[in-house]
Each structure stands twice: as C-alpha cells, then as structure tokens.
C-alpha cells in the first residue's frame, strides 16, 4: 500500500488545482457581496475599486494557509501505531524562507503605492467647491450654509447640489456636482462625520477645525452617522444627506434664507 506520508507531484498538482478553484470561488463571492451601501461619490468609487483589489489579493492568502493546514491534517495525521513515530528533522530551508520574506514584501510595497495614489485621488481639491461647515454636538449634527442673501443659517440635515447627467432625477440617478468641502467642528466632545454612501469620514475635534471633501455622483437621500463614541445618545446621532438637483437646491435655499431672515 502507498505510504500516505509521501507527497507526490500529483498531490502538489491536486493542491494547486483545489487551491486555485477555492480562490476563484472565494474571490467571486467576495466580489459578488454588496459590501458598500451605495456608490454616491467619486471617493467611494475609488475606495470600492481598491477594496475589490484587496479581496483578489487576500482570498488566495487565506486559501493557501487553509489548504496546507487541511492537507497536513488529512495526510500527516497520526495513525494508530504511530504513537512513538517522529517526523523528519527538518530545521529550515533558507531558499524557502527568503521566498516567503521577499514575496510578501513586494506585495506590501505594491499595495502601499496603489493606496497612496488612491489617497491623493480622493483628497484632490477641485477649483469649484461648495463650502459647508458641519458642527458635531451631543447628539446631533448641524450644518451651516451660506444663504441666498448672504446670511448664514443652520440646518440639522445636509443638503448638497448636483447636476443630473441624464434625464432622471429620482433616488440614485447619476449626477455630477461641485465638490463639497467640509469644515468640521465640535461643540463638546469628539464626534465623527461619516457619509457611508460617499465613503468619507472625519472626526470633529474640540478646539480645531478638520476637513474632508466629497464629489457627489448620485441624487437622492443617504444616511449621515456619527462614528466616534460621544456619550449616551451616540447611537441615535444620525442625520440625512439630500443630494438635490440645482433647481431643487435653490428652491430649498430660497425657503431657508427667507426663514432665516424673518
């Protein structure tokens, strides 16, 4: 009978085939899962593309480790009568060790270069910006706008403007808008402004003003959440961002400006 401890070329081929199939399936599932809630900004598009890249990179690593563990468990497990048997006294293999130091180093380096590019991408300032000041306070967001008559006013929901690129104007309709640049401030403790559908997140820190930017690409309503623990009502510190067409936006601005003036 064949010695189960012997690893033949056929075994290695089988492992590679099974590993490749498992990786392909894993990657397919990883890409199929709807990880991100909605793609409503250019920033989330970049990050989501990057995340796909991460999935393609990570699944094979996990499959590699799991395949070797499972193969070892199946083939090299102790069988009755082997209670006193020891394995071969292999102490190491310099070539292997160099390989598994070098390859991850290269992968990590590539990852960092790609990441640095994505970061400079999503941080890119555009000439045409709309400025909004976001105030975090226990336990609500306040957004400060500059009204039609120059008067500044506050609203507890976020309204931004975006020009539809098609004929549709409903929820999720594509649009292209001016970049929204946030000045973020905190009244009491640290909060964190997050727009999950637009990816960006930035802490609101007492004493300083922090900044972030988004380039909206979809019309509609999306959640705004606080992601930094800020006390008893942290869980309910949520708001909504309304991405409006220019017509809707100026109508809203008119109404608000009037209310602010009176």
């Amino acid at each position: 009978m064949k010695n189960p401890r012997e690893v033949t070329r056929a075994d290695v081929v089988r492992m590679v085939v099974i590993g490749t199939i498992a990786s392909a399936v894993g990657i397919a599932i990883g890409l199929w899962i709807d990880w991100f809630p909605a793609h409503a900004s250019t920033q989330i598009d970049s990050i989501s593309a990057f995340y796909d890249f991460l999935i393609i990179l990570s699944v094979p690593v996990f499959v590699l480790v799991t395949t070797i563990v499972l193969f070892s468990v199946i083939r090299f497990r102790m069988r009755p009568g082997e209670e006193e048997v020891d394995g071969p006294p292999t102490h190491g293999n310099t070539r292997l060790e160099v390989i598994w130091t070098a390859i991850p180093s290269v992968v990590v380096a590539c990852l960092c270069v790609y990441a640095a590019n994505v970061l400079s991408d999503i941080d890119q300032a555009q000439a045409n910006q709309v400025k909004v000041t976001a105030w975090g306070q226990q336990f609500m967001w306040q957004f400060e706008y500059s009204g039609a008559n120059g008067k500044r006013f506050l609203d507890d929901e976020l309204y931004i403007e975006c020009t539809p690129t098609g004929t549709q104007t409903g929820q999720g309709a594509p649009c292209k808008g001016p970049q929204v640049a946030f000045d973020i401030k905190a009244v009491d403790v640290i909060h964190s402004l997050w727009l999950p559908s637009m990816a960006m997140k930035q802490d609101a820190v007492p004493g300083i003003t922090t900044h972030t930017k988004i380039n909206p690409t979809r019309l509609g309503m999306y959640p705004v959440v606080c992601t930094e623990l800020c006390g008893i009502g942290h869980g309910i510190m949520r708001s909504t961002v309304h991405v409006l067409t220019p017509a809707q936006y100026s109508a809203w601005l008119q109404k608000k400006s009037k209310a602010a003036a009176s």
Binding site: V69, G92, V205, T210, P223, L229, C230, I232
Partner: protein, 651 residues
C-alpha cells in the same frame, strides 16, 4: 492586639482596608477644610482618593510588603525564608505566595474569573443588539456594558493570562528554581485583582460604570460620572502589575537560564515572553501617563484636554490619542506574541518535528517589537492629526505583515510531513493559524489609509479585533491551558469535551464575528445601542450565534474544574515534549528541580535520533571541569559550556 491582626493575611488586610478608607476620608476632608471648599464631604473627591489609597493599605495588610519593610527597618530578615513559598492547601492560593507555580495558577484562575464577567457583559451587549431600538438598557448603560467588557477582557484577561501561563512554565523551561524576584512577583499578582475589582464595581457607582469605551477618549472621558475613575485608576494597578512582571521576566530570562541554555537554545515561548516584556516595559508607562492626565483633568482641573471652542482653555484633544495609542498599539502585540510562543511549542511537539526556521522565528518576534512602536497613528487616520503622517504609518503597519507572514509560513512548514497528534491543544493551534490569518488580512486592509477612512469605527473594526484577539489570542490561550493543564494540576483534562469545546468555539466564533465585517461595511458604526432597521436581520443572527459562543465557554470551564478535581492522574510528560518543564514530575516539586538541569541541545530536536534538550545528571559535562572551573557558576559562561564548538576552541 490579637495575633490575626499582627500576622499577614486576610484579617489584617480587612483591618487595613478599613484603616485605609478612614485615612483617605480624613485626608480628603482635611484638605477640603483647609481650602474652605464647600461641601466639605464630596463623594467624588473621597471616592477618587480612596480608589488610589485604599488598595495600597490592603496590600500592606495582606503582607505584600512585609519582607521589604523588615529589611528597610533594619530588622532581622532571613535570606532563605521560604515560609510563603508553595501551596499545601487551597488556602495557600489566597495568600501572598512567592512560588512562581502558585502565582501562575493564581493568575490564570483570576483572569478566567474576570473573563467570565467580561463574557457575561458581552452576552448582555448582544442581547441589547438583537433587535433595533432599546431593549433593556439605555444608552449610558449600554456604553458601560461594552466599555467594561473590553477593559476586563484586555487588562484583566488577555494581557495577564499570558503573564500567568508564562509565570508557571517559563522558569521551568529555562531550568530556573523560580523567578528572579519572587516577592515582586507576588506583589505583581495581587495588584491585578485590585484592578479587576475596581473596574467591576464601577457598575455600583452613582451615574453607572465608565462608559467611554476602553479607549476613554478625552474629552468624553473627562466629562463622565465618577465611574470613569474606576477605569482610570484601575488601569494604573493593572499597568503597574504588567510592568513589574515584565521586568521580572526580563531579569529571569537574562540571568537565570540553566547552564548550557544559550539564547539560541531557548524555547520560542521564552523568546516570545522576552519580546513581550520589552514591549511592556517600554510602552505601558504611556497608558499610565494618558490616564494620569485624565485623572488630573477630572480631579484637579488641569485642562490637558479641555479645548472648549472660544474659551481660553487650550487643551489638546488629539494629544490624548497619541499617548494612548503609543501604548495601546504595542498592546496588541503584548496580547499576541506570547500566544505565538505557545503555538510554536505546541505545533512542534504535536507535529513531532523541529520548529521550522527557529532563528527567523526569534528574529521576527524582535522585528515585530521594533515595528510595533512605529505604527500607533494608524488608529488615528481620521482623527484630525496632521495629514502627512498617514502614509508613513500605513507603510510601517503594512510591513508588519512580513514578519508575521514569516511566522505563519514557518508554522505551516513545521506541520509539513510531521506526525500530527490532533488533540485539543493542537486543534486550537491549527484554529489559531487559520483564524489569525483572517484577522491579519483584515488588519492589512485597515492599514490602507483610503480603506481605513471608510471602515474606521464601524463594525468592520469590531470584526477585525475579535478575529485577532479571539481567533488569535484566545485560541492560543485555550491551546496553552489545555497543553499545560496536566503539568499545572497533575491531572488530565477530558479530551472529548476539549474537542467539543474546540469545534463549538470555532463554529460559533465565525458565525458571530464574520457577519460583522458585512454589517460594518454596509454602514453600521460601532459602539451604538441602536441601529438602522436595515441591519436588523444580521444583528439577530450575530446575537444568536454569540450565545452559542458563550455556551462553548461554559463547557471549557466545566471541563477544567471537573478534570482538576476528578481527572485521571497525569504522567510527567504526556505530550512527549523535549522542553525542560516536561522532564520534571506533574506537578513539579516545590523548588522545581532536585538538581539543576544542564542544557545540551536545541528545544525542538524531534526526529533527531537520540536528541535530548537537557540532562539532569549531577555529573557535569567534561568541558566545564576542564575549560572554566572558576566562572562556571555565572549564567553567560555556563550557557556556553557544554556546546561542542566551545570544546574545540578551548582545546
């Protein structure tokens, strides 16, 4: 005075505790009276002073300082006083004991006690989150639940349980009769329950337990009810305990190795604890500092972190995070490196093969120590710190994947062509290998700044930390406890129940924490008592799975308690391992060795015909007698004696 109150022990400890409370009350009230403060009796002020002062009185009463006091007062002391060494009955485990084996068991039992409390809190967290809206606790109580859960699990379970396991096995492994400083060791242990009790009783404080997370970010933590101080001060006691133990390990490892045990013959568990202790000694003072800042802000109005806009106070809120993470990032390695050591021991002994790439395994530990200090700000990518520092911190963080990868691949190569004994410690080690790989992968994704901007402070983070701390650290803790259970108790655990525990843990662990990646990515922030309707189905599933995970822990506890009482007697070396702790009886003699062993080879020479790691014969190897007769007693010279190369050069 009755004799009980003069002798060290619980009666005197109780008396001193009362005395301590009275002293703190008098001190606080006296100072308030001197300053003319109103009201004279301020509960918060008295509570803060008492939380610092009373535990010290308790420790004096218990007898942790007796010997030093005698010595300092010039009273007669006996250098070889072993009256407090070793345990003859269960009562000796409740005393200040200087035997590292007793202290090790004290550590492990205490930490698992607090792990059960922390686990119970986790169950309550999951019960609250089973459906959206408020079930049975309000926001503040919910925040308390997860804050105390995390604090107990980190400061009272994962960090100290490793110190406990190492306390027991490390001196045995290096052939030492005890730790270098046994009395300091006893004090280190007794600081720990103080920290745990402070954190646990915070639930009974007016205003409830501390509720600003285990991170206690200012200025939220400086504006909380008095319960917050239980964390701030509790961490000081846990931290002092950590630092003292780490110093003890360092000195023990450097100076007390048996003759012949050079650094390159140390088992990897010893290497791992050497690396961990370096981290603890350098990093832990930083969390102490961060919490002292909070204490000074709250108690004395120092305004380190008070940056009210428009006011004159110019505190720096972000500074807290820098100081805090300068400890708390290395802390994740403090919670992982000893586990690496445990797994190296088990995988080698249970695969019946030498550990693959021993030297790289040791070097990669040191690389992680070094890199661990250069990555703290990756917790702060969205904190509002200067932007330029993000890329360097991303690069250093990602680089840590390289030494970690070396370890994972070397473990896999250790398995290859071995003879795998798939018992409970081995199963947990293999479980660790796969689960920790997942945690490591999500760790690399979080190192990437653009992705971290998205995922920071969401449930994706919760999933990641549980994959590294539960799938990583806790799996290695279980592996280690099963592996050394026969040595520590002299009994065998129940193998079938151990395997049941493993499979239940593995399955429910994944069912609980894997979906958290998904809900986090879909937009659910962490640390929320209430969440949007869309996350309800996932959260219900997670909660149900988490109760299964809780149940699996009870199986473990039952197995341990029952086997300790009724298990079959264990042989000296049930795992047929080569390291020295298995060459003595189970449990070992009171001073570990009847004769000090001499190390003659590597610790993992499985499969090498006739290989031994250490010999116990009283007769010394020849080179010692010929080569260096006078200096043979010192560790360094002794370490080199007996190696063949040495003999050649001397001849």
């Amino acid at each position: 005075m009755p004799v009980q109150l003069r002798q060290p022990g619980w009666y005197r400890a109780a008396a001193f505790t009362v005395l301590g409370l009275a002293f703190c009350l008098a001190l606080t009230t006296g100072i308030r009276a001197a300053y003319g403060y109103d009201p004279l009796f301020d509960f918060d002020a008295i509570a803060i002073v008492s939380m610092i002062g009373t535990p010290l009185f308790f420790l004096v009463g218990l007898g942790a300082f007796d010997y030093w006091f005698y010595w300092a007062a010039g009273k007669p002391t006996r250098a070889e006083d072993h009256s407090s060494h070793g345990a003859n009955s269960w009562k000796d485990y409740f005393k200040v004991n200087t035997d590292h084996k007793v202290i090790g068991i004290q550590y492990v039992c205490t930490t698992f006690f607090f792990m059960l409390i922390g686990g119970l809190l986790a169950m309550m967290v999951r019960a609250e989150l089973a459906t959206p809206g408020s079930q049975f606790v309000d926001g503040q109580d919910y925040n308390s639940l997860f804050s105390v859960h995390a604090s107990l699990m980190i400061f009272l379970f994962v960090v100290p349980v490793f110190a406990g396991l190492a306390n027991y096995v490390l001196p045995l492994m290096i052939g030492a009769p005890d730790m270098a400083f046994p009395r300091l060791n006893a004090l280190s242990f007794w600081l720990l329950p103080i920290a745990g009790i402070l954190m646990s009783i915070s639930f009974f404080m007016p205003g409830g337990a501390f509720a600003s997370g285990w991170t206690a970010y200012a200025p939220l933590s400086t504006t909380q009810p008095i319960g917050q101080m239980c964390f701030t001060i509790g961490v000081q006691f846990a931290g002092a305990s950590s630092i003292a133990t780490a110093l003890n390990f360092l000195v023990t490892i450097i100076t007390m190795r048996a003759p012949g045990m050079s650094f390159w013959r140390m088992p990897l568990l010893v290497w791992a604890n050497f690396a961990t202790s370096l981290l603890v000694v350098i990093a832990t003072p930083f969390i102490a500092a961060s919490q002292f800042f909070i204490l000074l802000d709250v108690a004395l109005g120092f305004n380190f972190f008070n940056a009210t806009i428009g006011g004159e106070r110019q505190g720096n809120v972000i500074m807290y995070q820098h100081v805090f993470w300068f400890y708390s990032h290395p802390a994740v390695y403090i919670m992982m490196l000893p586990g690496f050591g445990i797994v190296s021991e088990i995988l080698s002994a249970k695969s019946r093969k030498p550990i693959f790439g021993y030297r790289m395994m040791a070097f990669s530990l040191l690389a992680i120590v070094l890199l661990g200090f250069t990555v703290w700000a990756h917790h702060m990518f969205v904190s509002g710190m200067q932007n330029w520092i993000r890329i360097p911190m991303m690069v250093t963080t990602a680089i840590i994947a390289v030494p970690t990868g070396i370890k994972i691949f070397s473990w896999l190569a250790t398995l290859w062509k071995g003879v795998l004994h798939l018992d409970t410690p081995m199963l947990f080690s293999l479980g660790f290998l796969t689960m920790f790989t997942l945690g490591g992968i999500s760790g690399v994704t979080l190192a990437i700044v653009p992705f971290d901007i998205y995922a920071s402070d969401t449930y994706y983070i919760v999933a990641h930390i549980h994959y590294v701390l539960y799938g990583g650290s806790v799996f290695t803790i279980y592996a280690g406890v099963y592996y050394w259970f026969p040595k520590m108790t002299g009994r065998m655990y129940n193998e079938a129940m151990g395997k049941l525990h493993f499979w239940m843990t593995l399955i429910f662990f994944n069912l609980t924490f894997a979906p958290m990646h998904v809900v986090g990515m879909q937009g659910m922030p962490r640390r929320v008592a209430d969440y949007a309707e869309q996350f309800a189905p996932w959260n219900l599933a997670i909660s149900i799975a988490s109760f299964g995970l809780g149940l699996s822990t009870l199986i473990f506890i039952y197995n341990m308690v029952n086997s300790w009482r009724n298990g079959p007697k264990a042989e000296a070396n049930p795992h047929r391992a080569l390291t020295i702790e298995w060459q003595v009886s189970s449990p070992p003699p009171i001073f570990n060795f009847d004769s000090i062993p001499t190390v003659v080879g590597g610790p993992y020479e499985y499969g090498v015909p006739g290989a031994v790691h250490a010999v116990f014969d009283a007769k010394k190897p020849e080179p010692v007698a010929v080569g260096a007769p006078a200096e043979a007693e010192t560790a360094e010279v002794g370490a080199d004696a007996g190696s063949p190369e040495d003999q050649e050069t001397k001849d």
